[in-house]
Symmetry: D3
């Protein structure tokens, strides 16, 4: 039987800055530009969680999107919404909070809570013009 993908879109607002602690200030400034601003800047992140699997014949659902939304709320938004990613989270204490890295972290937070026969993909919009998908 062919599989169906279902998508749930959520939002969180966070501060961050991009920098590599192994580099000096000039290199950080050169590589990360405005995103290296010492006192942080921020974004309205748009998070889209995609789950792929077979339709359950009883419910007509691949996964109940209300359940998926609650899961995202508990495992991701509680940690990241209205937070400073660099200062307030364990996940980005030692990891540069680029959109790419945030998407991988969110995948790793959600994967254990989704049944193994369901496929998972994360899309994260940092701005309207810049976004990422993981796994590709």
């Amino acid at each position: 039987m062919n599989k169906v993908s279902v998508y749930r879109k959520e939002h969180f607002n966070a501060a961050h800055k991009l920098y590599n602690p192994n580099w000096d200030d000039a290199t950080n400034k050169q590589v990360f530009g405005k995103c290296n601003n010492a006192n942080y800047h921020g974004h309205n992140y748009v998070l889209i969680v995609k789950v792929t699997g077979e339709i359950d014949a009883e419910t007509g659902y691949v996964i109940d999107l209300k359940v998926l939304s609650d899961l995202i709320q508990n495992e991701v938004l509680k940690k990241f919404d209205h937070k400073n990613l660099n200062l307030d989270t364990q996940e980005f204490k030692h990891l540069n909070p680029t959109a790419e890295n945030i998407a991988v972290v969110i995948y790793d937070l959600l994967r254990p809570h989704i049944k193994s026969d369901l496929d998972l993909k994360i899309t994260l919009h940092e701005t309207d013009n810049n976004y990422v998908k993981y796994p590709a």
Copy 2:
């Protein structure tokens, strides 16, 4: 030669409710929540039809999107637009009109009318935050 995908977006507005006739009312309410409201609720569905194939050297088209739009109008929108999916359609008389099932039904309605060397995928948005794709 590499292939190109073309997409046509259409809209329809319909009422529906989710329920499983094999379950009692309490179970339906528990599983489907607000979507089980006895007198129905409704959505502005956004339908995106994706067709993949090689570019025709004469026209520069994979498929004429005006022709595809007319096909969607005739095979899908005439049946579902401004209708009650549960009461007014053959397709959902005995099938729960979840977004997943609607996407599969639309695929099956369109597939016979599209040439076999063209690939077909359906994306259906039930709300801005909830949508599905078939085949995955």
Copy 3:
């Protein structure tokens, strides 16, 4: 001092049909067309509530948008979300649920709960292409 307007956007999904009980079926069909479908159809309504007043010097707010959002939830969304406007609500038992009338009803539901020195306006989107504002 010049005033500021603040806006809060919310959503609800509902079924409805348009008809005038004083008219025969043919007249209803002629005037309301597809929107007169006997078994209802539905929409993802987008509701924007605009409140205008002076900025409070202590908070920097005209009105706390979290408070406004809770008010909309309690006074409007609980009544209309995932409901059949014609069958499930007191407000539209004897009033045709056009976007115009829904906007006026929502205004009347919210007005008593907002301080009298604050101005109130309602925008209601029935579809992406059709929407209304009250008062004009």
Copy 4:
């Protein structure tokens, strides 16, 4: 002659937190909730500048939107984009950076640079669901 309004939309990304230095921490937390997070959070602000006046018969313009865009860039975006509004700007050193206050500040930054016979209004979106307009 009737007047025409022209609009130019721009974007900036900034960190901020809401707090009142005259209040204790508990009161700040109670009033501003998540927006009071000590280490800041952030937003993709959408700024819409509206200028109203008569059409110039030579150009067909009310104001050249390229000139208006450059003005917004120089007077607003250079100060606020990829910055911490509380820490990196003079304007919000002693003013709570609510959307209302940011809109008034942007108005005051732009007003001296726009000819006095042209009317000016600012719309600022903090999120998709929360936005403000000044003057009302």
Copy 5:
């Protein structure tokens, strides 16, 4: 009785260039920049027609939006959609097709067809970032 505004959104795609026949090429280039490209460029124009009046007690409508849509189709889109505004239209043979001027022209095309007790306003988006409203 308070009035309600209703809005209908339509689209058209057209080519144009900006220039003033009384100026030399260098001045046209300096004032209109890229928009002066000799062989034209083009836009997906988004047109929003706003009509304000009292709700008709029989229909619940200010104006039937299907009727308004047909009117826009006949009076505006047939003239401008998939056309070169400078070459293919009477209206812009001797008038620079800026967004401001296009909005005024569309107002003048529609005004005679809308009852005199209804107010009319035109919003025209040339791009996502640039748009105009007439009358202001």
Copy 6:
């Protein structure tokens, strides 16, 4: 290691017409309809460039989106923005500027400038309702 896709969205405005020089006028009119208008029409094209690869451990980037944006500016937008695709570009002198063909041309313009271990895909929106992706 799993790969990540990053996306950069850009815009350009251009005039075009669709026609096949090997066909007579009637056939061109029949096949391309309104898009065959002799004096051209135009669009706000939305271009999304997707690059897939592994995250660089030093930067946290797959590719610096500022670098990608500059590349798109230099290789694509300088050629096509505010131009007549049929008359002003080498690429479409002898190639019908359908969305499909434009996407392939943009791919070929960008591919040599992106490292060979990175995958490239182009999405091009001609209107909100019609868009294409290459390679599929």
